[in-house]
Symmetry: C2
Subunit: 231 residues, 2 copies
């Protein structure tokens, strides 16, 4: 039993935690050397996290403190555990740009490749909620959103070029060792790996090698989660 | 007279210094509170910087040390003047990603909008060199590269969305105060401002307001340079 609990999104299988934002926090906790019990959370369990004044996970409970939102949680961890390895290079604001890019390029690109794979992971009530809310967001059936996805992979991979160039110069986004910059970006790739059989990265891609290094961190914390991706 | 000299790219008018990479360094020097005499440098003056084993500017001479390449110069300044305001948040590698993005999205986008405006700033020998080398790179006349540029502005502006979102949250890319992250990105916009009448940013754009703040830094260091942009 840990003093800390992390509400993490999952489907019918509790092991398949797939939220990109929960992964950012799970790796941030590991980076700080902090454990936290997973509380499995599903899309229709809003009341379970209402205490944190949030409608979405991740939500962290740390002793008497509850914090929602992955960015706020990372800042909280950095502030509360300053003597443990730093998540941010100096100040959190220095990573705002990569977070913005990861949301708008990586995650926004991935969702159009993998969103139709998610419903089959979910129990019925969650599935109904997920499909109707996402179909409303995209204005079309989810199968339409991901249609021709193999043909669109080259464009998605090309959009990652600014990241790829960095990972040809240094092993992690942050430099010689990973920090929250890496966890921000990796969250999206972990999401894709857990929910979709689509191979979003080619094995020859320097990004693939980086993802392998990320899967190996903290004793294979992320690699232990069942992957749907064929690779 | 300063102990430091910075070779900066210019055209026939020495005041119109326009290289995005020279601007990164000029602002990095100002950030550190260091002066440096400008040595005007033109495309065909390769022999003048051969001592630094470089074919391009910026080249900095600081006492007995010569450093070429904007990134190497910024690292040199941070290492050599550690007691002055920090250029990097913690470690230089933390800014590799934004530099990669600025080169591949901002500067690569801008060149296709403004490259045909550059020859008229240059003396004849430089102009011949510039036009033939750039036409070779693009495989077409420069007027073709920038054709229909007004129609392509919305796409370029949309590509800046990850940066725009950050600047709606905080006044500078780095946070409350600018650092080298800001100078990296601003270099491209300064280049466009000096060489081209094209209004690359709308006045209502949060990026425009940020660019104004950047132009005001260090007593209006960048604003004092003659602009071609109509704004």
């Amino acid at each position: 039993m840990s003093d800390r609990k992390l509400f993490e999104l999952c489907g019918t299988d509790e092991a398949r935690r797939f939220s990109p934002y929960c992964w950012r926090v799970r790796l941030a906790l590991a980076h700080k050397g902090l454990d936290a019990e997973t509380v499995p959370w599903r899309f229709t369990e809003g009341e379970a996290i209402a205490f944190a004044k949030s409608a979405t996970v991740p939500v962290l409970i740390d002793g008497d403190t509850a914090v929602a939102d992955s960015w706020a949680i990372a800042e909280y961890l950095e502030r509360t555990y300053p003597d443990r390895p730093a998540l941010f290079p100096g100040r959190p604001s220095a990573l705002r740009f990569i977070a913005s890019w990861a949301d708008r390029v990586v995650n926004a690109g991935l969702v159009k490749l993998i969103v139709s794979d998610i419903p089959s992971l979910l129990a019925e009530a969650d599935r109904d909620y997920f499909v109707s809310s996402r179909e409303k967001r995209f204005g079309m059936p989810l199968a339409e959103v991901t249609r021709d996805r193999e043909a669109r992979l080259p464009e998605f991979r090309a959009s990652l070029q600014p990241l790829r160039a960095v990972l040809m110069q240094q092993p992690f986004v942050a430099g010689e060792e990973p920090d929250y910059a890496d966890y921000i970006v990796f969250g999206g790739f972990m999401w894709a790996r857990v929910v979709s059989p689509l191979k979003v990265l080619e094995e020859s891609d320097p990004l693939h090698a980086w993802r392998e290094r990320m899967l190996d961190l903290f004793g294979g914390l992320a690699r232990r989660v069942p992957a749907r991706e064929g690779s």
